[in-house]
Symmetry: C2
Subunit: 410 residues, 2 copies
């Protein structure tokens, strides 16, 4: 039985947002690991537990500039009973002093230098009175004083970092310090963009006649990067079913975002092709803008159908694609925006059962709805300070009500 053409009839049935999120979760598994250079791993997700292969440091080192000596031989020293120690040499970091320090001897040592044999404490330079090749010790030095023991920072076989950790700059520094040149991290989800529409010019061109410049790929590229994705290719394609068929039938990435051609107009080939080539799991959602969003699978790869209108595209990306990428990459699915509580300057109406993506400008701690709010008005998201999302089961917010706004700027 041929599949029915769903175009030009409107969305008869919409997939609840919760259902779509749950479908996305079912199909967005953590990706496999890849080995990369430790120095390039900041911000990546660790895919293995790290057990330290080494002590840091591998030797007892001085924590101060001063004199290494045998602590016991200073016992009894005081300003009434100064003890003299002979300075037998000097050691700086990276050097080794080959001799053994005997009681009554001291070795000049710099911070980070290895404490020599026979010594077990360091007297700070400021507390030692140097005269000729001797120092006067005016106070007893307890054993271990100012000595960083072998492994004081990291011990061999110590559990260093857990699998799943998002690596901080200092984490990769620690990994380098134990000598790990490479580590295993979760590989980045590969993403491909199919930007469709006969009316579209490529970014860099000037808008002319009845054509507009594709802005979606420009916006999606840094968002995908923010969410840990690796943008492998951007294809600009006309609304030709055969061409789209060709591109969709062999997905070259973990996730495809197709923008435009996703609704129910006669040029909207996206949903039909996903249905033909794979499985169209959802198409049409109770969200405004972004109603013509779709999700499906082709050859096991995720295909997101994003509306061509840029505000819809932005909200659908942030709501759905971002979450899928973060799940595959091992990142938190929390919104990547800072939140702020403000009072509404005007009321916001919303239909029960629908989520509204409302752009707001904040002035003197009051939030104003951006009036020019259509799905096609991308400038509304540059004029806005942030956005709010209405709840599905709410009729909106009253004037003066406190709401939570997600701020576009970090």
């Amino acid at each position: 039985m041929p599949k029915a053409d769903i175009r030009m009839r409107g969305f008869l049935k919409r997939t609840p947002v919760k259902t779509l999120l749950s479908l996305i979760k079912d199909h967005s598994h953590l990706l496999s690991a890849e080995e990369i250079l430790t120095v390039e791993a900041s911000g990546r997700i660790l895919a293995e537990e790290i057990i330290s292969p080494a002590n840091v440091p591998e030797f007892d080192r001085s924590a101060m500039d001063g004199y290494a000596l045998d602590a016991e031989s200073t016992f009894g020293a005081s300003s009434y009973n100064p003890l003299m120690f002979r300075v037998v040499g000097q050691v700086t970091p990276g050097e080794t002093y080959d001799g053994v320090i005997k009681p009554g001897e001291a070795l000049r040592i710099m911070t980070g230098g290895p404490v020599p044999k026979g010594a077990n404490a360091v007297l700070m330079a400021e507390n030692a009175e140097l005269s000729g090749d001797h120092i006067q010790v005016l106070d007893a030095v307890p054993p271990g004083k100012h000595v960083g023991k072998i492994g004081e920072d990291i011990k061999k076989n110590q559990r260093l970092l857990q699998q799943g950790r998002c690596l901080r700059p200092q984490d990769i520094a620690v990994l380098a310090s134990v000598g790990l040149k490479k580590i295993k991290v979760v590989r980045k989800p590969r993403v491909e963009l199919l930007i469709t529409g006969n009316e579209l010019l490529k970014p860099g061109e000037k808008p002319r006649g009845v054509q507009i410049v594709d802005s979606n790929s420009v916006m999606l590229a840094p968002l995908i990067n923010r969410d840990g994705g690796l943008l492998k290719a951007v294809h600009h394609l006309p609304d030709e079913k055969d061409l789209l068929h060709e591109h969709l039938s062999q997905p070259g990435a973990d996730l495809i975002c197709m923008t435009g051609g996703t609704s129910v107009g006669i040029e909207d080939h996206g949903p039909i092709l996903v249905d033909e080539l794979g499985e169209l799991l959802a198409h049409g959602i109770p969200m405004r803008p972004a109603a013509p969003t779709g999700f499906g699978l082709i050859e096991g790869k995720k295909v997101f159908l994003l509306p061509g209108n840029p505000v819809s595209c932005l909200s659908a990306y942030d709501f759905f694609v971002r979450r899928s990428l973060c799940m595959m990459g091992g990142y938190s699915q929390d919104w990547p925006y800072r939140k702020k509580k403000v009072k509404l300057a005007t009321k916001i109406s919303s239909e029960i059962g629908r989520i509204e993506y409302v752009r707001l400008r904040i002035e003197n701690e009051l939030a104003f709805v951006i009036a020019a709010g259509g799905a096609s008005i991308l400038s509304s998201t540059t004029q806005a300070d942030g956005f709010l999302l209405t709840e599905e089961d709410s009729e909106g917010f009253a004037e003066g009500e406190e709401v939570q706004v997600w701020l576009y700027d970090a």
Copy 2:
């Protein structure tokens, strides 16, 4: 008069942190502009005001799938008085319909398609009853209905974005949509790292004998990137004054970070060289760790002397170098960490006049001080959830006191 050697005498006088911050501000001016591709400008600081050179769109377009017609000729239509309109053709986005729509005629039109001459409104497909080549109109359509006018998103000569703005993904999309291929942004401050120390092995090597692996360059690279800097070079150098002299005398970057050799030990050539080659504006600060931090100028370039101990290096970078980079690059100087209020599980003592950088672990909303807190224990910053800074004029915090912690993880 030869300049005096300040080494091995301890810091006799320390520069107050406020004074150092003010010196850094005096010498960290906003950098000049550079022209880059708009598509690569997300996250950059705009260095010009943008006035739109074009309307978006450049034509009246349909906001719906439906029928373009002359609104006036639908007046009087109702379910009791259906009016018939002849469908004369169709137009999709990117196409132009050359004819003129006369009263009684309608053109099938898709979302984004240009509204033809003679038409001034769009009837939604769902509200039109199609039979043969005619549609029945059951209700009057007001002029302008579902038509996005020329410039509905952006008007030619409209002020689009202000100088100094940190560009959002949607901002660069808007800039692309008005046809701007390139834009002027503040250029990134160029940074060079001089990693000094005879005891250091390069990252990727295994620690051995009395040597340790340089972890500072590994940590600083992603931090510099985070703060908008461009790391041009990393030099690993032994503690040899001539070599350091050579590297410092011709600064190849806007900002040099020298790590190690910045204190008052015999191998600490940094402060002396900055003093000889330029101006050493500060050396030694009342901060723990990070006391041996220094700042100066050589040939008008900023030179930061960062302690070699990695915790000191991290805190001095975040406190001082970060701010300098952000000022040069036009970014906010706010701490790049999320803050969280928690109660202290133990008291924290601090000397009046000193800022302490205290690493904390948070458990059940209680903050515990990381015990192994020396300047050389980098693993303390991987075990910690964040840090707090004591105030210069405070003796610390009492057990149970609510404090503000900066979280290392975003």
